[in-house]
Amino acid sequence: MTLDAEAARLTADKRALPSATIRRPHRVVASGLVWVLPLLVFIGVGFNLPLLMTAAWSLVDQVSGGFTLANYVDFATSKIYLTVVLRTGRVALTVSLICALVGYPLAYWMTGLSRRGQMFALGIIVTSFWVSILVRTYAWIVVLGNAGIVNRTLQAVGLTDKPIPFLYNEVGVTIGMVNVLLPFMLLPLYAAMLQIDPRLRPMAYTLGASSGQFFRRIFFPLTLPALAATFVLVFILSLGFYITPAILGGGKVPLIANMLDILINQFPRWNLAAAISIVLLVLTLALYAVYQLLRRKT
């Protein structure tokens, strides 16, 4: 290319540039649909279709193969399933409450740390978050077992003379679930707390508020939507928990997810399992909508 042609091209481009910036920014691809198509097909076939099939199967009678609502009726009326559902609700509520009660103070404390202190605390939380759930659950067997550290300490101190059973009951399951789910509460809560204008504190103090008053009347109300949102998030995650109840509950504390496993893998009642999955799915989506609503308020 000659220099002249190069120069002509550059000037042409210079003229072209302003018009390009005037165009609406995300109009670069007139139809982005083409780009989305491969994933749409993949997710459509590999994810949406299985879910739709599950929904269809929940409405099929296992024996006759005809349309029925019996699977849902079975689930709603049987006492066994009701027990598991109630237990799941109770555990999920306890876990979310404990997470809120211990997570909020930690997140609040972190906002007052030095930059290095915040990084250190975040490092612990993020590390714990990314360590395999199996590893964390496994550790609790060692910690909470009859010959575990907690029981040996309690006995050494003389608080109890025989080991307290922490494992294979709701206590152990709850402790394990709190450990796994706490980061899900801490990380968004801490992020929301950092969003709060730091100038509010000196402002409140200048107007005569004590630090307690500042917390009660300004900081806490401002972080309440975030706390509610993270509470709902942890609750949703607890509802579908499988690993921790299976291992720390030792089969004695089945939650809905473990019940689904039994219905699928032990006595094949796929249609009932499908119906329970769909109920759990609808419940999850409804709660997720609540979570999004609360999150938008923060």
């Binding site: 691809v29 590390t127 990314w130 496994y138 550790a139 699928i264 499908a274």
Partner: protein, 275 residues
């Protein structure tokens, strides 16, 4: 004592109570790692803490067990293939979602994120029924596809962020200078989002490598590391698991630190580019 002094005293008492609670909670979070890592080097036959002596026997028993090695190889193959599929499909889709202008974009995005949001057990039941009906339950490729579905949301989220952070005007300049769309993508956009893509791939790999519930439901006879761990944990307590757990902890920390470092790289790159 003056009111102000009293108030300060109360505040400091409240402050130290808060600090105590906070440190205790951090300790609670870190406890599994604090316990498992030293125990993996224990010489004791049973799980005892603190360990009575140092030994590498549990690492030897892991690396000497063909079933663990088989599980490890499967985990790596499934992780590499599924995260590569997720990266390819997810990145292309992220480009369409960020730069495209069509109706139902947010709806599609929610659909792509859904596998991450739904409880794994629901996805597991759905896969189980679907694969069983198709007659591919326990099929290796089906297992890879299932993992790819689960890893996709992470890629879509991370790559959307990366593409959004890349100045669209640079793309427009390339196009007005006569580059074709493909040239622009391969020579302008892609080189700039490589670190994010690497991070997204790592996240997807970790997600697949850690996945238990769906794997338990659909893998048939194929073993993966988490699946074999789960089976062993339900049956008995085997100290070999401490060694694997420690290796997994190390692996997760390295992978996530690497991913964090890589994405930090993009921010600096795009930041310096803009200035």
């Amino acid at each position: 004592m003056s009111d102000a002094a009293m108030e300060r005293r109360e505040a400091s008492v409240a402050g130290s109570a808060l600090a105590t609670v906070a440190v205790a909670v951090l300790l609670f979070l870190a406890l599994p790692i604090i316990i498992v890592v030293p125990m993996s080097f224990s010489s004791a036959e049973s799980l005892r803490f603190p360990p009575p002596g140092f030994s590498l026997r549990w690492y030897e028993s892991f690396f000497g067990d063909p079933q663990w090695i088989e599980a490890g190889i499967n985990s790596v193959i499934i992780g590499v293939s599924s995260s590569t599929i997720a990266l390819a499909l997810g990145t292309i889709a992220a480009y369409g979602l960020v730069r495209g202008d069509f109706r139902g974009r947010t709806l599609l995005e929610s659909n792509f994120i859904a596998p991450m949001v739904l409880p794994p057990v629901i996805v597991a039941v759905a896969f189980y029924i679907f694969f069983a009906k198709l007659g591919i339950l326990g099929n290796y490729l089906a297992l890879i596809a299932a993992h790819a579905v689960l890893a996709t949301p992470y890629v879509v989220l991370l790559m959307s962020l990366a593409i959004r952070a890349f100045d669209i005007r640079i793309e427009q300049v390339a196009l007005t200078l006569g580059a074709t769309r493909i040239q622009m993508l391969t020579r302008v956009l892609l080189p700039n989002i490589v670190p994010s893509a690497a991070a997204a791939w790592l996240f997807a790999f970790v997600i697949s490598f850690d996945e238990v519930v769906v794997t338990l439901f659909v893998s048939g006879t194929h073993l993966t590391i988490p699946k074999r761990m789960f089976n062993q944990l339900v049956l008995q307590i085997n100290p070999t698991i401490t060694a694997i757990a420690t290796l997994l902890i190390g692996f997760s920390i390295v992978a996530v630190a690497l991913a964090a470092w890589l994405t930090r790289g993009t921010n600096t790159v795009s930041g310096s580019r803009r200035s």
